[in-house]
């Protein structure tokens, strides 16, 4: 990886119950989640989590409800204390921070966007957007310009003096995002930020996030239970199940080579033509194809290539990245890639 590691999670465990440290021994000894609950009456929240979050990337943590993803993100700013393990931000162990250092971290280096928006209902949109600055002790007049700038950036110009309850859900979440951006922190934690929104608005918000990310290059940790959303946003995808990591890596990689029946099952229902990109199915070569039907970008998704070829499977395209050829794409290969990895799928179906 060419980017710095911004947040590093090492061997993180979280166990809920009256004696988590005692229960930790059982977990380390190989006791599973169901058995721990039944025999020892403790809930296994997270088990041996190791994740590196790279600077300027969107790291998506995906899992179904109960998989521990919301618990995990709350460890990053210590809204929840871990049972064991380390969380390092810029090389500093957050778990050793005292109250002042922790507050400084939350105020200046991390901001958070919530599933239920969590805006202050008695403050105006403007004051909500400037909440991080308000907390640091600035007066409204001092941060007004800044807050207005970010509100305009997320498309809320003219709503500054309204109250949150006067806005729709999508607009409220825009305030939530503006609030996180206005804090000017390099890290943004997004806890199911778009899950409460309806599909059209969710898609809009995803586009907004990608657009902002192109411009600002924040380090984003994004939690979701929606596979399509995670594939759209992720630079690095972490799949969580029952408190442990099933697979992590580049999303295209996971799509092409799922290493667990759970994931195979998961990805069998998605629209592969839309999420797979040319670079994942092309043949890496700098040799010119014999008959070239034209140039396509390695970032194009397969859907757009199919549309371009008009369904003709006899074509071959040259794949270029920033003007240079990086590979060729045979339409037959493309069509094959649309079929989910069959062997493992049969495997998965027989297991579940």
């Amino acid at each position: 990886m060419d980017r710095n590691i911004k947040i590093s999670i090492r061997n993180l465990y979280k166990i809920f119950g009256p004696d988590p440290v005692g229960a930790l021994e059982h977990v380390r000894g190989g006791v599973g989640k169901a058995e721990l609950l039944e025999k020892h009456n403790h809930v296994l929240g997270l088990k041996d989590i190791n994740v590196d979050v790279h600077e300027g990337e969107i790291t998506v943590i995906m899992g179904l409800s109960g998989s521990g993803k919301s618990t995990l993100i709350r460890h990053l700013n210590r809204l929840i204390e871990p049972t064991a393990g380390e969380v390092e931000v810029d090389g500093e162990n957050v778990l050793q921070f005292n109250e002042d250092q922790l507050r400084k971290l939350r105020r200046e280096r991390m901001s958070m966007v919530f599933q239920k928006f969590a805006l202050l209902p008695h403050k105006t949109v403007l004051e909500n957007a400037g909440m991080a600055l308000l907390v640091r002790g600035f007066a409204v007049e001092e941060f007004e310009a800044d807050a207005k700038k970010w509100l305009a950036r997320v498309g809320l110009e003219g709503n500054e003096y309204q109250y949150p309850h006067q806005l729709s859900g999508g607009m409220q979440q825009r305030v939530g995002i503006a609030r996180a951006l206005a804090s000017n922190s390099p890290i943004m934690l997004m806890d199911e930020a778009f899950s409460a929104l309806d599909p059209l608005i969710r898609s809009d918000m995803q586009d907004l996030l990608l657009e902002l990310q192109d411009e600002l290059q924040k380090t984003v940790v994004f939690i979701t239970h929606d596979l399509d959303e995670s594939l759209k946003l992720a630079d690095h995808l972490v799949i969580l199940k029952d408190g442990h990591i099933v697979q992590q890596g580049e999303p295209q990689e996971i799509l092409m080579y799922p290493n667990d029946p759970y994931i195979t099952d998961f990805i069998s229902d998605i629209n592969r033509a839309r999420v797979l990109r040319v670079r994942s199915v092309m043949n890496k070569t700098t040799e010119e194809p014999e008959v070239c039907a034209g140039d396509i970008s390695d970032r194009d998704n397969l859907e757009s290539v199919i549309a371009r070829s008009d369904g003709d499977t006899n074509l071959t395209y040259r794949v270029v990245r920033s003007g240079k050829q990086v590979g060729i794409l045979d339409m037959k290969e493309l069509v094959k890639a649309l079929v989910p990895t069959e062997a493992s799928e049969g495997d998965a179906r027989s297991r579940y």
Binding site: N77, L79, L102, R103, K104, L105, R106, R107, E108, M110, S111, M112, F114, Q115, K116, F117, A118, L119, L120, P121, H122, M131, A132, L134, V135, Y163, P164, H165, S183, L189
Partner: protein, 344 residues
């Protein structure tokens, strides 16, 4: 011989019992029994008395009678009363000053200043001309039938007591909301204050303070009326949306910032509901407190009962109803205004 003789004889306590034998004063019931010559011995199992203190005393003279319990309590209270007064008197003296000062101030300011000021306050908290008109008509009606002075006395007492209830009640409620231990300790006390019959407050207070002092009824009213504001402050803060609190934490608010910028503003509708209840309960108590020299409309009600002056009692009662309606509507309207500004 009495029913439970066997108990003491089997325990070998006859000697101890005999020590307590005396021909001293007997109760009225004993005297009656003696003159009528009836025995205490029950005729059948059906009439067996419960082994109460009195029943046991009949079998063993050294065993205390239940009357001695209440008497002991009384003597105990009287013996600590003086030292208690030394502490409580100076502590509560400001309450007397506040009550006397407010009463003096409201009664000696001419009506053409007091009524407009009250109306201005009503407009300030409710922003409703309709309500201002209603209050104006009500006050003028009371003044027209020459009940102005009594009504103002009652209002003055309520203002002082309700203000002090809020002053002490809100911090107590906040403390309760922040610590479960504090809540566990406070709730039984609040339950007791709320269920004790209002007259019972007056009994120990009469012993502690002189009836001529205004703090006597002030304390009675405050103890009675402070409960709802404490309870609802606690409840309101505990009910603040957990997600908003989490957001406040995530943005690095200190606990003071959280309290003043998030929790109290969001709990305000509940706190105001508590204030409304507190004011209404002060009004209820101020009538009862006229038994211990609280001035106001309650005195007229009492006069109506004592002298059987039906008309005076009824009109005073009506005056109290009018005051209650005014106070309730005004506080509810201001509550509605707060709610409107932050419904979610």
């Amino acid at each position: 011989m009495a029913t439970y003789d066997f108990l003491f004889s089997s325990l070998g306590l006859e000697d101890w019992c005999a020590e307590g034998q005396s021909d001293g004063p007997m109760s009225m019931a004993d005297l009656l029994q003696k003159t009528q010559g009836t025995s205490n011995e029950p005729d059948s199992l059906w009439d067996t008395p419960f082994p109460s203190m009195d029943a046991l005393n009949e079998s063993c003279a050294a065993f205390p009678k239940s009357r001695e319990l209440t008497k002991g309590l009384e003597e105990g209270f009287l013996s600590i009363k003086d030292s208690l007064s030394v502490v409580l008197d100076p502590l509560t003296q400001p309450l007397s000053w506040a009550l006397d000062g407010t009463l003096h101030g409201m009664l000696n300011t001419p009506w053409w200043i007091v009524i407009p000021v009250l109306l201005a306050v009503v407009f300030f908290v409710t922003k409703s001309w309709k309500l201002v008109a209603f209050v104006a008509v009500s006050l003028c009606l009371l003044a027209f039938i020459d009940y102005y002075r009594y009504a103002m006395e009652t209002l003055a007492i309520i203002f002082v007591c309700a203000f002090l209830c809020v002053l002490f009640g809100v911090p107590i409620g906040i403390a309760m909301s922040r610590s479960d231990m504090m809540q566990r300790l406070t709730v039984p006390v609040l339950d007791m204050l709320q269920t004790l019959p209002p007259f019972v407050y007056l009994i120990p207070l009469i012993f502690l303070f002189s009836v001529t002092e205004s703090k006597l009824y002030g304390i009675a009213i405050i103890l009675y009326a402070i409960v709802p504001v404490i309870r609802l402050t606690n409840l309101g803060i505990r009910l603040v949306d957990k997600d908003v609190i989490e957001a406040a934490d995530a943005f690095g608010m200190t606990s003071n910032q959280k309290l003043f910028k998030v929790q109290i503003p969001l709990a305000l509708p509940n706190i105001m509901a508590g204030v409304n209840q507190t004011i209404m309960m002060s009004l209820a108590m101020v009538v009862i407190a006229s038994l211990v020299s609280a001035p106001g409309l309650g005195v007229l009600v009492l006069q109506g009962i004592r002298n059987l002056e039906l008309g005076v009692g009824l009109v005073a009662g009506l005056g109290i109803v009018i005051l209650a309606v005014i106070l309730d509507r005004v506080t509810k309207a201001s509550l509605a205004r707060i709610n409107a500004s932050q419904n979610q």
